[in-house]
Assembly symmetry: C2
């Protein structure tokens, strides 16, 4: 693992009401996707750099994102780090004593993802995302 930030996840009530500020800062709309398994609509924003922003809006009140919004309000949600081999990365995390949140699964853009629970990482929800 070589220290690359893939994207920063941002929890919002409504994606379309959030775009202006990022557009002004040079981020453009990229892929948009509904991830039914997570109960979210996701819009990636990208610019000249490799790190994207991912705006996340809940699809329904039962989603964990909706619970996050009720509890903490809109704001930064997670940071996603690239890994080459997700199974190896999860094993390494578990060997370090970190607690994973759920199993390896398919996330946005069809990529394999896994999450380190915030209680294991000083309050930060870390997504591991398998990417070249």
């Amino acid at each position: 693992m070589d220290g690359r930030v893939d994207h920063v996840g941002i929890a919002v009530e409504e994606i379309d009401r959030t775009l202006a500020v990022y557009s002004m800062l040079g981020f453009e709309r990229m892929e948009e996707e509904t991830v039914e398994s997570e109960g979210v609509r996701a819009l990636f924003l990208g610019g000249a750099g490799p790190t994207r922003l991912e705006l996340l809006e809940p699809l329904h009140d039962g989603s964990s994102l909706a619970r996050f919004l009720s509890g903490r309000g809109q704001g930064l949600h997670h940071v996603a780090i690239r890994v080459r081999d997700i199974e190896a990365a999860v094993s390494a995390c578990e060997e370090e004593g970190l607690t994973m949140s759920g199993a390896i699964r398919t996330g946005a853009l069809g990529r394999k993802v896994a999450f380190v629970h915030p209680k294991s990482a000083s309050g930060v929800l870390i997504e591991l995302v398998q990417a070249d």
Copy 2:
């Protein structure tokens, strides 16, 4: 402005107790600095990608970071976007109707920075940082 994420700021109680997980993910210690004007100790972590992580620890209870930690606990604190000309970027933000949090000032690494207030940006504290 061309859409580059400079770094992601993470608020922690103690930097040294937070390093293991990021080290495992491929991030190494880079610059470390005490920013007296903000009441923080900052440690940048970097890897193969251009986006860094900035671990932030309060120097004293009166700092805004200490208030953030009391209110919300440890976790993601801000996202920093690169701009080429900070004065022009702040003017553009103000023309869009965004509220800035304080004036342009010198932040970590001697760079000029300014902050968009979270209430203007869907709960996200956005740092603008002047960098090439």
